[in-house]
Amino acid sequence: MLALKEVGKTYPNGVHALERFSAEIQPGEIIAIIGGSGCGKSTLLRAIAGLDRASTGSVSLDNVVITSPHAKIGIIFQEPRLLPWLSVADNIDFGLADLPADVRREKVAAALARVGLADKADAWPRELSGGQAQRVAIARALVPQPEVLLLDEPFSALDAFTRRDLQDHLLDLWADTRPTLILVTHDVDEAVVLADRVLVMRPRPGRLFQEITINLARPRDRKSELFDTFKRRVLTALDRSLDRAVRDPADKSSAGEAMWW
């Protein structure tokens, strides 16, 4: 279990990015963290990854406090961040440090096949499209079989079609080993289609504002009415978190559903 206890972060320049964020995340859960800019969602993710240390509070995985990058925690960034001097296969291999060569080769080949890029093993990263590169990044993060996978707006740089494909693909991959996924996003659709729980944050300083459970069966139909209902709920929470004028939730079901779009 991943436990976040009153995690706070104040940067050396005085910016108070995150305040007393607490949450308990069960193994295999998919969490989406959503919020306006400056709500500390990336800060939170970097603290969980062990890339930045929290100023107050603690992050612990199975009762082990995380202060630096951990073998069981993987991360996928907004950009693929592939190493341009390594072939696609070697990039995936980068995540497998201590295993014997033949085991690594097998795992890399399996991972490449799993993300549908077996034919690109010897390609250079520069030869890949944005979606392909991000799939390689996903394979690289998943191949060491992390227990927790963090995703920092992983699909925001991609076009809408590729984004939807990769969201489905991610769920598909998740089903293999069911790691905990923590996804930072600013895309309500993405949060609702992927997450078990959506944590809405409010900015300045970043705080947990509201938690919304998405108890929809998977695979989720993006066009269903129920899906829309959850989306609306998240949007309402987002608007509230930003202190925007919100219509009374009671009348949204009756009259102006179109008002939201």
């Binding site: 890339l51 990058p69 341009p84 001097w85 980068f94 250079w124 520069r126």
Partner: protein, 278 residues
């Protein structure tokens, strides 16, 4: 250094059918101008419009080279010069790489070291010549040190700048996979700085060839620079031109060697110059 066509021209050209002859035609096009000029001058002298005493025709220059080669003089001079460039270049590369790496990697060292190095860099390197001669004598040592000084600065700057500009995001990937310090250097920093390092090596080598001439003009009994000086003092322009031609060939050849050695390491680069099929 090679000059590649700008990216725009590469795509816009009639490259739809890359016929085999085009691969040779392009470099050949670069040869057209010098060859025409040389043949033209040869013709002018041959027809008697000029006696070609101060500007000897190509045939005479090549005859001089052949003559020097036959007597064994040429290889002696070439070897002497090559040795000086090689030793000075090696010295400059080692010093520049080490100090550049320290300055790039370690902020305190950079604040301590860099201002001094930059101040020294501002001195025209030839101004050191009298001092080096006084300190190190007029023979080999002062020459090699002068060349090393010339080579040092571009290497130092290149290595330091390359390390400073390594992408933080890529370094973070190394951190996520928990690379140790040495592994971080070997697997992330070295490959990341390699392209800039190769460029600085080539610049450094070019300066090495420049400084060997200066060093050999100080006073030498052998070497291509000596051939230059000797040709001037004895009024033999053909010998000067012969030495210049050999300088050009050697400079281009050594530069090409670096390029050739680095090519397999830099195939991954996503740059203007990178060819699709490479």
């Amino acid at each position: 250094m090679t000059v590649d066509l700008p990216a725009l021209e590469q795509t816009a050209g009639p490259a739809a059918a890359p016929a085999r002859w085009q691969r040779y035609a392009r470099p050949a096009l670069g040869l057209l101008l010098p060859v025409v000029l040389a043949l033209g001058w040869e013709l002018v002298v041959f027809l008697g419009y000029s006696n070609g005493r101060l500007v000897p025709p190509p045939s005479k220059v090549f005859a001089t080279i052949a003559e020097l080669a036959k007597s064994g003089e040429l290889s002696r001079h070439i070897l002497a010069t090559l040795w000086r460039v090689g030793a000075g270049f090696a010295l400059g590369v080692v010093a520049g790489t080490i100090l550049g790496a320290i300055s790039g990697y370690w902020g305190l060292a950079r604040r301590l070291l860099d201002p001094t190095v930059q101040a020294l860099r501002a001195i025209p390197s030839l101004a050191w010549v009298p001092l080096f001669v006084l300190w190190l004598g007029i023979f080999e040592t002062s020459k090699i040190v002068l060349i090393a000084v010339g080579v040092f600065f571009p290497i130092y700057l290149g290595v330091m700048g390359a390390i400073l500009s390594v992408d933080r995001k890529i370094v973070e990937v190394g951190r996520v996979f928990r690379l140790s310090g040495p592994a971080m250097i070997r697997r992330i920093l070295l490959p990341a700085v390699l392209p800039a390092y190769v460029v600085s090596l080539r610049v450094g080598l070019g300066l090495g060839w420049m400084f060997v001439v200066a060093a050999e003009l100080i006073g030498a009994s052998e070497g291509l620079g000596y051939l230059l000086l000797d040709g001037q003092q004895l009024g033999k322009p053909a010998q000067i031109l012969a030495a210049i031609v050999i300088f050009a060939i050697l400079g281009k050849l050594t530069d090409w060697l670096i390029e050739l050695a680095a090519a397999p390491l830099l195939r991954w680069q996503d740059a203007f110059g990178a060819r699709g099929g490479a």
